[in-house]
């Protein structure tokens, strides 16, 4: 047994209202630069739907994740050698159009157009070519089942279960079901992106399991983009380097939740530690039957309260406060103790570490619409398996098609609902309800506190990183400390290509980008690549509103060490 720690996340899908706050705040923090306009480390997709990038779950097409070859794990895209022979042009790399072509609008024409008969319009212009374009897809084109009957049936999961459930997958208005699926990098225990990287630039951090790209070692081979079955590694087309969700490591290191979690209005995300047995990861990922992968993955997670595990963890260099955090970990409780949180697509064999509590609402809604008491335990239990479409759909997402774990999780959630209704209506609560799902009344109540009350300190149990090892910074401190600091950022392209030279820390780049926007005199032409800004940053204006000179002076004088203009 070799114990390692992993920062994991759980998302409670029942609470997701699809507001995209997590996506937007993540984008502002990490990908609001030219070259990654199309990149969403965090995206929220409507299911059923094609997802982002389109149909990424269709692994026959995109070749992500692992497969078993004669009992041994191999990347689906091929052996090491065969993939190296394809290094000159990756045959299964998604094209920009599979994500979407980012754009902005010609705002300038709105005010500079000569007086005429017609109102001027701001036409869309591509942020890639600078040419006028027709917008035909975006990261969220099929949000809320938009384009429903036409687009949703192309959902790879719908295609897959269509054979089993036939035409009971309803896409018509009033008969459809839908829910939201927020996705980030899974920070897998057996990351196929890392395994795909020919340069060895991608790595899993041994302290906390966060999967990162070493930007200095990446050579732009693009194999990781193919390797990740969730398509959560992106290629920055300006710098020629891979980028991915960082689990907001600078925040995690100081004990703060990630940006996407912190800003989630539904408060549905949980962050904590898993302790796992690193020696058995490969073996577990090579479980022959896909449907056993969920159990195999659970099996890797070690009980942090087991004295033997604690001793082994100490031996393997895990600090006492980390073990203590693991013992209080909300994600361990939800995934392993209550078994309500399930991994996304365990059949990809990457052992993903972002877990999902499946949504009960499509089922409750369906019941309520048919005039049933949707909170009555018996009705709900009965409905769970008779409403087979959502369950089968969920099973394909979270358990390689096996309905049992999904039903188990939904039953616990349904029981909690009925039990708490009993208690809230003044009774003691019917103890037989928790028993029916194998919990005591106290455990059920604790689950309710964790899921429904969801206090900040219960949702996030993040131990701080230990600093005794060193002094230097990974992401250089503040704008002023950085060589070529404030004011010297005007040169967008180094001597050897678009982004050569020392990498600019994201924080510094953002600082300059925002400052440039706020202090520029006029509108920026979308065709001007040196001034390209992301849509989110883009308000169509370069200048601070007229008549407010004070603000500009304030901006110009703002102390960059204070985090720059806000």
């Amino acid at each position: 047994m070799r114990v390692m720690a992993q920062v994991g996340m759980v998302m409670n899908l029942d609470k997701c209202i699809g507001c995209h706050t997590c996506s937007v705040t993540c984008k502002q923090a990490w990908t609001n630069r030219a070259g990654v306009e199309y990149v969403w480390f965090n995206n929220v997709e409507t299911r059923p739907g094609q997802g982002y990038p389109r149909t990424y779950q269709d692994q026959a097409k995109w070749q992500g994740g692992w497969v078993l070859k004669r009992g041994k794990l191999q990347l689906r895209a091929g052996s090491r050698f065969s993939r190296l022979t394809r290094i000159f042009s990756n045959p299964v790399l998604p094209e920009l159009s599979d994500y979407y072509e980012p754009w902005t609008y010609e705002y300038d024409t709105l005010i500079s157009a000569p007086l005429g008969e017609h109102t001027p319009v701001a036409r869309p212009k591509s942020l890639i070519s600078g040419k006028p374009m027709q917008i035909s897809w975006s990261a969220n084109w099929d949000d809320d089942l938009g384009g429903g009957p036409e687009l949703a049936p192309k959902d790879p999961i719908v295609m897959k279960i269509r054979d089993q459930v036939g035409d009971r997958v309803k896409m018509e208005f009033e008969q459809a079901f839908m829910f939201y699926l927020p996705r980030i990098c899974e920070h897998c225990l057996n990351p196929s992106c890392v395994a795909s990287c020919p340069s060895g630039a991608m790595y899993k951090r041994s302290e906390d399991g966060i999967v990162l790209v070493d930007q200095d070692a990446c050579r732009g081979w693009r194999m990781c983009v193919t390797g990740c079955p969730y398509k959560k590694v992106y290629f920055n087309h300006r710098t020629g380097k891979a980028e991915k969700c960082t689990m907001c490591y600078p925040r995690i290191e100081v004990g703060l939740p990630t940006v996407c979690s912190e800003t989630c209005v539904g408060r549905l995300r949980y962050i904590g530690l898993f302790l796992y047995d690193a020696d058995r990861v490969t073996e577990a990922a090579a479980t022959p039957d896909e449907r056993d992968l969920y159990e195999a993955q659970l099996d890797l997670l070690l009980d942090p309260n087991d004295p033997e595990v604690v001793a082994a963890a100490r031996r393997d260099g895990i600090a006492a406060d980390w073990i203590e955090a693991a013992q209080r970990s909300p994600v361990y409780r939800l995934a392993k103790e209550y078994r309500v949180a399930l991994p996304l697509h365990p059949e990809y064999r990457t052992m993903p570490m972002v877990w999902y509590i499946p949504p009960l609402s499509p089922i409750v809604d369906a019941l309520r619409e048919t005039g049933h008491d949707a909170e009555d335990a018996d009705t709900l239990f009965g409905a769970l398996s008779s409403l087979r479409i959502p369950v089968e759909y969920l099973a394909e997402l979270f358990a390689a098609g096996d309905p049992a774990p999904v039903l188990g999780s939904l039953a616990t959630l349904a029981a909690m609902r009925s039990y708490m209704r009993g208690r809230n209506l003044g009774g003691q609560g019917d103890p037989s309800i928790p028993e029916s799902v194998g919990l005591t009344a106290d455990e059920m109540y604790a689950l309710y506190r964790l899921l429904a009350i969801a206090k900040y300190e219960d949702r996030y149990v993040i131990p701080k990183a230990h600093a005794e090892v060193g002094r230097q910074l990974e992401e250089l401190g503040c704008a002023l400390d950085y060589e070529g600091g404030p004011g010297q950022y005007a040169q967008p392209s180094g001597p050897f290509g678009e982004a050569s030279g020392r990498p600019v820390p994201v924080a510094v780049e953002n600082f300059h980008a925002l400052k440039a926007r706020q202090t520029a005199e006029g509108f920026v032409d979308p065709a001007d690549t040196s001034a390209k800004v992301n849509l989110l940053n883009w308000d169509g204006r370069g200048a601070v509103p007229l008549g407010m000179p004070g603000i500009r002076r304030l901006d110009a004088d703002a102390d960059p060490t204070e985090g720059g203009p806000r």
């Binding site: 794990l73 190296l84 087309h237 230097q472 678009e498 030279g501």
Partner: protein, 245 residues
């Protein structure tokens, strides 16, 4: 032998080697972040699927051809029983094949760069310069193969002069007189080739040094320590340093 010959066949080669070696080391130390293929496949996938492998495999074959032709003395291959005419026939056949693949590849790649909007928008001045030098060297190389084979002109056994000169440079006993008498096309191609190596460290060509052969031998999953740095993204303010741990 004129001064120009000394400059071209003694000074230039050594200057090339020096720039190539020092430049590469310097670039690697200064600019690891800019060291990348900067692939444009994301913008366009159809043309690059054909053009890029064609060009790269072609140029690798060309490289092997050059190494064999320039480094291995004629006497060695003859000792192996490969006659001059047999060697020549083989070299010309393979050389033409590889050269043609490379040329078609680079022409397609340049065509794609020029005509596909996003790819052209992502092309820097540095890239354009590089294409000029590389394209010229390749085209001249193919021409030289034709000349050497006797398809154009009367044929020439470069292993008796150009190759000997090449080795003389590596052995630090330069024999510029050999090059001075070589046919014009050989001389022009040699200069073009040297210029490619001069600009090499300062262009995207450096990605060739990153051929990831180590990948075949390393374990799949790479683990790394967090490394020596303080947690978080900024240094602690004076007076707010962390205590303990």
């Amino acid at each position: 032998m004129s001064t120009a010959d000394i400059l071209l066949w003694v000074a230039l080669p050594y200057a090339t080697i020096a720039t190539f070696v020092v430049g590469t080391i310097w670039r690697y130390r200064y600019d690891k972040f800019g060291w990348t293929t900067r692939s444009s496949q994301l913008y366009e996938r159809r043309l690059i699927r054909i053009a890029s492998p064609l060009f790269h495999i072609g140029i690798l074959a060309v490289l092997v051809g050059h190494v064999v032709g320039l480094v291995i003395p004629e006497s060695w291959t003859e000792a192996l029983g490969v006659s001059e005419s047999l060697y020549h026939a083989m070299a010309v056949a393979l050389g033409l094949f590889a050269g043609a693949a490379t040329l078609v590849g680079i022409v397609l790649l340049i065509y794609r760069r020029r005509t596909v909007g996003p790819v052209f928008a992502a092309t820097t001045r540095n890239d354009k310069t590089m294409y000029v030098f590389l394209g010229a060297a390749i085209a001249l190389g193919l021409l030289t193969t034709l000349v050497g084979a006797g398809v154009l002109g009367e044929g020439h056994n470069y292993r008796e002069d150009v190759s000997v000169w090449f080795r003389s440079i590596l052995l630090f006993q330069p024999q510029p007189e050999l090059m001075a008498e070589a046919p014009l096309s050989f001389r022009v191609h040699a200069v073009a080739g040297m210029l490619v190596f001069v600009i090499w460290p300062f262009t995207r060509l450096v990605h060739a040094f990153s051929a990831p052969l180590g990948y075949l031998f390393r374990p799949y999953v790479v683990y790394r320590d967090r490394g020596p740095h303080d947690p978080g993204s900024r240094a602690a303010r004076p007076g707010w340093e962390r205590i303990g741990q």
